[in-house]
Amino acid sequence: MATPMFTQTVSQACEAGFVPARRRVPITEVQHLTDGVVRLTFTDAYTAQHAKGAQFVNLFTPDPLHSAPRPFGVSEVNGDQVSVMFAVVGYGTEIFANLQAGDMVDMLGPLGRPFQVKADAHYILVGGGLGVPPLIKTAQDLAARDNVSCTAVFGYRDEHFADAFVDQYADELLSIDESQGNVVTLLDRLEPALSQDSREHIILTCGPLGMMKAVAAWARNRGIACQVSMEQRMGCGYGTCVVCTVDTKDGRKKVCSDGPVFRAEDMGWNE
């Protein structure tokens, strides 16, 4: 975009009662975890204050040849620091992975509807691969509330790159990599303990579509409520373009604003 003469600021937006739009924020840390997985942290007080588990932010590359928004789940918040965690899979993630502390990046958010959490329940956070980051934030949210607890059930391709991050927040962590099995294997292992636990159990899951469908079926067969966080290619990320739709029982819904979180039973997967 041509250099805009106007750079709206977060404070100007908030003072006028609006949500802050796209803004340029400073990057404070870029950690290269394992095989192509990067944890990037930037400063944005607004996102830090408002983001809930499964909400995401758009990051924008500075390259006009790759101007589309790239959505990443908010993975962790510390003070006014916001972290996302992504795998390098294409042009944008390649560019973001090469950024350094002190660089600036354009972002928008927090976006989307988070997981719905309520008191007096035990949450099972079932994450697969790069579906894991939003579940870390969810665990962080739950840890800050009383009378809720959660078990993290993470499946990886190989490196358990997120265990250390979620471990600080989850009451219990089970994780597995493809060579040993998948998250459903872990859920089966958990089942005995669950059935003895009188509290309501709710599964919150995010990851590859196949995994989420299996987890939803597992939950349905046991009468356990399940929310899924969906992915779809996006145009705006804030609900104005109707590009990001997925099929649900109730027609085509926008992942970015009707979701990304949907109730599993609304997806119409159980035909």
């Binding site: 975009m1 041509a2 805009p4 003469m5 106007f6 750079t7 709206q8 600021t9 977060v10 404070s11 100007q12 937006a13 003072e15 006028a16 609006f18 949500v19 739009a21 796209r22 803004r23 340029r24 924020v25 924008f60 006009p64 040849l65 790759h66 101007s67 589309a68 928004p69 042009y91 600036m104 354009d106 928008l108 779809q232 290619r233 996006m234 145009g235 705006c236 804030y238 609900g239 104005t240 373009c241 109707v242 590009v243 990001c244 739709t245 099929d247 027609g251 085509r252 604003s257």
Partner: protein, 320 residues
């Protein structure tokens, strides 16, 4: 976009209520500034959180059809150099819901509303226009690029004869100012423009998207499930500009709204110099919700330095 200098003086604040200095007129309808939003890139329910919609010259809403349309399945978008290809397939809740949900809220918010009309057959276009005839939309914008069964599947906007037949019919259903929105995917856009004006169009808006696609080189398959989609964004800017220039040269008096690749006051200004009365900002809003307001404020500063152009627009005229 940096949060470094939270200057609060009004002229740099996109959010502060603003007295616009340069208005324009499109087919008799006053716009408080020459910048509107382009159909399909503006939904009040989403945008209301980001800025005051009444600040825009006008808002053109998502195309409405007689009944709800589902749109295309699967992936609907692919990135392209300085642009984006989209194939939404005109998903919308239908005109009845629009009349209850979106329009009243927009008018209550003080917006100048252009209702964009979609249809897959002449009957469908007519059904929608009939329902909009006495609503309080300020203008109608007929999207003649929709695939049209009455025209053998191709869009009415590519055939002067089919277009004249449709616009003549729609003209009888309403005396609201009617804009016909042209597609660039034609051999000679001036023939289409003439057919629209001669059959009753009060104004023209151009351009809609160019036909495009992308392929994922890891699978060899199209990225968009519908295979092809509409290309928009800065990449199409020179094409939209040439369409406005050529139509203006052939039709000196018809009001024209310039659309295509506008993401700055400077690009909006180029359309005004090409002969447009006003412009619409589309895809830029997908990359930054406040883009339309920013473009309007940037254009205002440029028009401050061009009083002759500004005065011409205010009187409903055009630079050429």
């Amino acid at each position: 976009m940096t949060d470094m200098n939270p200057s609060h003086n009004d002229d740099m604040n996109l959010y502060a209520p603003h007295q616009w200095r340069h208005s324009t007129v499109v087919a008799g309808v006053p716009w408080k500034n020459p910048v509107g939003t382009a159909s399909g890139t503006f939904q009040y329910a989403a945008v209301r959180y980001f800025y005051d919609v009444s600040q825009l010259g006008a808002v053109s809403t998502k195309g409405v059809s007689p009944v709800p349309w589902e749109g295309n399945p699967g992936v609907r978008t692919a990135e392209s150099p300085a642009g984006t290809v989209n194939a939404v397939g005109l998903q919308n809740p239908g005109v009845d819901t629009y009349l209850v949900d979106e329009l009243p809220k927009l008018k209550a918010a003080g917006a100048t509303v252009v209702t964009n009309v979609a249809g897959h057959s002449d009957d469908e276009y007519a059904e929608v226009v009939a329902k909009l005839a006495d609503c309080d939309a300020d203008m109608l914008e007929i999207n003649v690029s929709c695939p049209n069964v009455s025209a053998g599947g191709i869009s009415v906007g590519t055939d002067p004869v089919a277009l004249s037949r449709l616009i003549t019919r729609l003209r009888k259903l309403t005396d609201k100012p009617m804009i016909v929105k042209l597609t660039p995917n034609v051999t000679d856009i001036t023939l289409i423009a003439r057919a629209a004006v001669e059959s009753g169009a009060d104004a023209l808006s151009m351009i809609n998207t160019l036909l495009g696609m992308r392929i994922d080189i890891n699978t060899g398959e199209p990225i968009i499930e519908h295979v092809t989609g509409g290309l928009s964004g800065p990449a199409v800017f020179p094409v939209g500009l040439a369409c406005v220039w050529r139509v203006r040269s052939v039709l000196p008096d018809v009001p024209i709204i310039g659309i295509g690749g506008i993401d700055s006051g400077e690009k909006a200004l180029e359309y005004l110099y090409a002969g447009a009365n006003a412009v619409e900002v589309g895809g830029a809003a997908l990359l930054d919700p406040t883009a339309p307001i920013r473009v309007a404020r940037e254009l205002e500063l440029l028009l401050d330095e061009r009083p002759d152009l500004a005065h011409t627009l205010a009187k409903g005229g055009t630079w050429r």
